[in-house]
Symmetry: C2
Subunit: 73 residues, 2 copies
Amino acid sequence: APVARELRCLCLENLDRIHPKYIQSVKVTSPGPYCDKTEVIASLKNGQDVCLNPASSLVKMILKTLLNKASTN
Amino acid sequence: APVARELRCLCLENLDRIHPKYIQSVKVTSPGPYCDKTEVIASLKNGQDVCLNPASSLVKMILKTLLNKASTN
């Protein structure tokens, strides 16, 4: 069986705002056996990880921006 | 200085298709010092990681689905 990376929810509180320029990557995790909530974790360019509100329009905007950059690679 | 997790691109080839039901999480990484491409890595419910084409409409659809589920949490 695959080894679980974390056995609990990782986000205790979510930010509603952050400037997209600080973001290196964004991970969206759907509810699963170890956490019953959707979690969005952004890794910042300074190495910090922050949780973002999955329901915020900011998250959609950031993901759109990241993916649109890819289309013009 | 923050420790880099990986010092190279992680995706050698990208899938264009996968059924969303197998996906536990999706990570979108923007180009940075260690990889000049946008990368999309999906972790599957069976523990496997697969790379998806960042320019595919599938990726947008999957992220939208994950986030829309969150809004109704």
